[in-house]
């Protein structure tokens, strides 16, 4: 076993962490000591079977070897061989179980997994399998496919707990030998909450007011205030735009501009109104199928027209139409079911009980749209909306859909929406997923392993939406509360929000996940209420600081004995700079804008056919300082600062961003003219209202950006830096002048140059602090 594997294995399987070198010598003891008392099929065995065995002994019949399947109970316990005389699994009898024999053998012809698979089992995994068979090889259905059951709330944590969440978390901490951390300082708490719910830092006034608010319900009041802000709706829309693969261009080849922002304005509106989540989703999936649909309901269906559309000369229409339908099926799988449906497009799913027939049956719901695959007209006018579309008139914008910010006051806007064609298109299984390789015809249906469409519901997109929100549906509730949890805790209770299947992570707190899923449903799918409930927990309010011991015991913070420290999302980093420096333009909605980006990025890749997306024309004036969710998203060349900070490309539905740490991020924060503009503006603000001397002004800037007052040593360091730079710039006024000339924002020329340049440098330094781009 490599040191690498053994090390990870130590982190995963025991609360004790060994350093790399120690772990390899400790292997043998670990195998024995780390085995659980009772081996659980879902938590211990199936992840191994799925990851190492299903490829050849799994749901895909076409690749199943030796007639053995380990994906269902019936298959796994069936008699094997021509003589039907042996069994992979004999409960209670590992010696008679060929599975156990074959994983322990030294014979390279016999060993499982076979060497050519490049897969191996660790000693620990083998021991788990063996013990599970010893204990009777009890089989259970995949946890996520069983409907959530209301668990009993543990008693543990009384005195600390603020609500049920904390009892569940505390019980787990106890089990792991951990203690919750103390409550975070109020200034930290308000910063955390502000980013999590509003995507912006708190203002200094907000911090002061909260710190001084001694009322017992001060925290709950703060949560409510933030939830009721427009910034909350925008912050929620941000994640939803990743899920909906929103962009301002069609993607592919020439990547022409499109008009989908009215749909984005609707999303903000819906979050602002706290539309119940079931309604929010139903309108987007099937608003057009509701009885006498309103214009707003039809606009909502734009959700499923956010996919890419091609205008590349010469493509085959049907090939791309199939691609769009597949995109919708994949989005439904990722966003609402937490299943990798797309894996069953070309063949039966290798790991989950989803057949290719299931895939195309689900696909069938989205296959009846009167649409084209190849839309050549895109090159003519970016306002052209490929059919089906709806025309929204200026009168309607002024009357019934007032949430649309029609800045240009055009007489009308055409928007892509969903519609059913009169003669429904037949759906066939497409062999190998190829658009022209027809297999059997299928009827629209939900995956066979999940509960059926509710009785009385129509078998179309509307019925599909209703099915998502039935109490029997085991996935929608869990998947959604898991994402809300991720919003507040960085990582979901299931760390793979896109995969609740066999290959996904197991829930760290399965009972809590079920509790939340049921609560969410029973309280009417109320998103604000769920976020509020999570934010009020003691778990959420812990400090993020970790002792070295705790860091060793739980480096990934799976058990939540502290709050996570999270790097801010791309948009929040940029928005914070503008917010604290007073540059932020808080206008809501409307056509996307084009703030500064380095010259030439669109020009050097365009084929010349991109129309309005061939050249990047920087917006003028206050539009440069709009919130980042309004930045024009060209799919083939997305805004570079956003990509550098891990925003997804918006090619496909995405429910989790990477959180990386790279040199390009450093260069961006050091040298992006936008950060320098914000630094200047912040310097001016500090000069005018930050205090009487340099120390006060620097402390002001530090606090504005990080929400915390600098420690004495920090302040002294920055003050020395300021004095040195001011002295240097006093000698070199020209350099001060050129430093201050970067970016469109200019300072009044009446101010002392050297002072302003030095303050700006300090501000820029503060914007680059780890503390500035993190919420702890």
């Amino acid at each position: 076993m490599s040191t690498l594997k053994s090390c990870c294995f130590a982190v995963f399987c025991t609360a004790l962490v060994f350093s790399c070198e120690q772990a390899s010598t400790a292997d043998k003891t670990l195998v024995a000591t780390a085995l659980p008392e009772v081996v659980d099929f879902n938590f211990h065995i199936k992840p191994i079977l799925s990851d190492r065995c299903f490829k050849c002994h799994g749901p895909d019949e076409a690749t199943r070897e030796a007639g053995l399947g380990l994906h269902t109970e019936a298959h796994a316990f069936a008699a094997l061989g021509k003589a039907q005389d042996h069994y992979a699994l004999v409960p209670g009898n590992p010696e008679q179980s060929t599975l156990i024999q074959r994983i322990y053998t030294d014979d390279p012809q016999e060993i499982m997994p076979p060497p050519e698979s490049n897969l191996t089992l660790t000693e620990h995994e083998k021991a788990l399998l063996r013990r599970w068979v010893e204990q009777g090889a009890e089989w259970k259905k995949h946890w996520a496919f069983l409907p959530p059951e209301m668990p009993e709330v543990p008693q543990a944590g009384a005195g600390w707990a603020q609500n049920e969440i904390d009892h569940f978390v505390y019980a787990k901490l106890q089990e792991k030998g951990l203690q919750p951390s103390s409550k975070a300082e109020k200034a930290k708490l308000i910063r955390r909450l502000s980013f999590d719910l509003r995507g912006l830092p708190p203002t200094l006034e907000e911090i002061d007011a909260f710190v001084e608010d001694d009322r017992p319900d001060a925290w709950a009041r703060l949560v409510d205030t933030f939830l009721n802000s427009t910034a909350y709706a925008e912050r929620m829309a941000l994640d939803w735009m990743d899920i909906a693969r929103y962009a301002d261009t069609h993607g592919y080849q020439d990547d022409f501009e499109r008009v989908m922002w009215p749909w984005r304005d609707w999303v903000i509106h819906a979050f602002k109104e706290n539309m119940p989540y079931d309604q929010f989703v139903t309108w987007q999936l099937a608003g057009d199928l509701l009885p006498e649909p309103t214009l707003e309901q039809r606009i909502a269906t734009g959700f499923n027209r956010n996919h890419k559309i091609t205008a590349e000369g010469g493509v085959i229409d049907e090939e791309y139409r199939v691609e769009y339908v597949a995109d919708r099926a994949q989005t439904l799988g990722t966003a609402f079911l937490g299943l990798t449906m797309e894996c069953a497009k070309c063949h039966d799913h290798k790991y989950d009980p989803i057949s290719q027939k299931d895939y195309f049956s689900l696909y069938g719901y989205f296959n009846t749209i009167p649409e084209k695959g190849f839309v050549g007209q895109l090159n003519q006018n970016f306002r052209y909306a490929p059919k089906p579309s709806v025309r929204i008139t200026q009168k309607e914008i002024e009357g019934i859909v007032t949430f649309i910010n029609n800045r240009d006051s055009l007489p009308y806007i055409d928007l892509m929406v969903m519609e059913e064609q009169e003669e429904p298109r037949k759906t066939y299984i497409l062999n190998r997923g190829k658009y022209d390789q027809y297999g059997d015809e299928v009827q629209p249906a939900v995956p066979a392993q999940l509960p059926p469409i509710p009785e009385g519901a129509p078998n179309n997109r509307l019925g599909l939406a209703q099915w998502l929100f039935t109490p029997e549906n085991p996935l929608t509730g869990r998947v959604t509360v898991n994402r809300l949890w991720q919003q507040l805790f960085g990582t979901g209770i299931v760390a793979t929000p896109f995969d609740f299947g066999n290959q996904g992570a197991l829930p760290t707190h399965p009972e809590l996940l079920d509790f939340l899923a049921i609560k969410f449903r029973e309280e009417g799918w109320d998103v604000k209420a769920m976020l509020r409930y999570m934010a009020l927990s003691a778990t959420y309010q812990q400090t993020a600081a970790a002792s070295p011991e705790l860091l060793e015991q739980d480096p990934e913070n799976r058990w939540l004995a502290r709050a996570p420290r999270l790097r801010l999302q791309a948009e929040m980093i940029r928005d914070q700079a503008f917010a604290v420096s007073g540059l932020l333009n808080e206008e809501v909605g409307g056509p996307s804008v084009k703030p500064y980006q380095p010259e030439g990025l669109w020009e050097e890749t365009t084929g010349g056919g991109g129309g309005s997306t061939a050249r990047y024309m920087v917006s003028e004036g206050p539009d440069r300082y709009r919130k980042s969710l309004y930045t024009f998203w060209k799919r083939t060349v997305p805004p570079p600062g956003m990509l550098i900070m891990d925003a997804p490309s918006r090619d496909l539905c995405s429910v989790k961003r990477q959180e990386t740490n790279t040199p390009l991020q450093a260069l961006l924060l050091l040298n992006d003219p936008q950060v320098l503009e914000a630094s200047k503006a912040l310097a001016l603000q500090a000069w005018e209202q930050g205090g009487a001397d340099a120390a006060e002004r620097i402390a002001y800037m530090f606090r504005a950006v990080t929400s915390a007052s600098p420690e004495e040593a920090e302040l002294q360091l920055l003050l020395d830096y300021f004095e040195e730079e001011r002295a240097a710039y006093t000698e070199k006024q020209e350099e001060a002048q050129s430093y201050l000339s970067v970016g469109a924002y200019t300072l009044p020329d009446t101010l002392p140059l050297a002072d302003m340049a030095a303050y700006t440098l300090v501000a820029n330094t503060i914007f680059n602090l780890d503390e500035a781009i993190t919420r702890g």
Binding site: T3, D352, G608, A736
Partner: protein, 492 residues
Amino acid sequence: MNPFEERSLQLNRRAFLSKTALGLGSAALGSLLGLRCFRANDKGIITESGQGIEGVLKALHHPAKAKRIIYLFQSGGPSQLELFDYKPLLEKRRGEDLPESVRQGQRLTGMTSGQDSFPLVGSQFGFQQHGQSGAWISDLLPYTSKIADELCIVKSMYTEAINHDPAITFFQTGSQQPGRPSIGSWLSYGLGSDNENLPAFTVLLSRGTGRPNGQPLYSRLWGNGFLHSLHQGVQFRAAKDPVLYLNDPAGLGRSGRRKMLDKLEALNSMHHEETQDPEIQSRIAQYEMAYRMQTSVPDVMSVEDEPDYIYQMYGPDAMTPGTYAANCLLARRLAEKGVRFIQLYHMGWDQHENLPTAIAKQAKDVDQASAALVMDLKQRGMLDDTLIIWGGEFGRTNYSQGTLTDTNYGRDHHPRCFTMWMAGGGIKPGIVYGDTDDFGYNITENPVHVHDFQATMLHLLGIDHEQLTYKYQGRRFRLTDVEGHVVKDLLA
């Protein structure tokens, strides 16, 4: 020492340095390493106090022949029939309709599927045999012709995609639909970086003169997909900022930048004391890497000190930043610095109409500099461990798109056969591999699929294409998807 042993040694040395250079107490060291190991498995990276990126492969799967790749991507689909695949029959039967027995009902693009006829047309330009291999090479490529015996010309490439976007994406990521990591990202992830001051994967773009407004490029072609963003391709541009946001602002000299970084480090370290978050140390390291890039990138891009004979080799265009020739020269300099994967894109090969005029210009753009790059590496002793690849995303039809006249014709996309060449890095020199029928329409011998090409390329780097995988959304992905065979005949 063979490269296999050398790499193992290097890994050990690096591991040793990382452990000793941190200068931390043993307890802290243990926890830090514990975390590092965890992350290494989780994300496929180890950042060792900024000393470059270590690859996920602890050892190569077999000894490598090539250490790095320069991929000269000819974007748009160069016509094999005017460049490498000599078909005299097409001239003899010029104007005749493509026989159905040859086409066999194969898919055409929507651009020509509506044509009433498919008039055959041969090359307007002459072909001669060159070198000991006797390879037929077009008169359009006089410099390439001279190095015929360095080249492995593969005439039997084929792909599944018939349009640019899916076809380029397929070549660069192994999948027609966007979202997967590109070749360079896979290599950065697998092998890491040999230069702590430069990214392992760099990208250079140039615009051809053949069809200046041809088809576009997409930044996702050098995207990291689901791999860590440290593995993304970094574009080196002929612009004020050769790498995005590289330059310090005016009025802040290098010493000013250094000073700021020192202050930042001090402040971040204080904060680390308080929170113990190892990400902070990683951030400090990334800022140092950024600082080093601010020197190393301009250094590698300042070509002024190249001697005259080098410019004579690469041709006059090499004096103009942003041209293909200038990028070839830059590629050599990046290769010398140990950059793992250097990706060039030259746009403008999509010649649906006016092909004779366009391809003559386009070939001139690339001929001299491509050949110069091969010979320049050779004279530096670097050709042996540098693999050079030249080729586009598909080929072009043997019939004319649009009206065929005495002097003019066009060609549509053709995925069923096209030509690429490779040189150096363990590839067999001086051979022509595979063949096509007399119509230049179908492959008759030794077909090489895009995934085979990718598998072979990885093989030369010491990687088994089936074993360099990354588990994402429950599935182990690899560059070659679920196919690909190493083409052993191409190996030296």
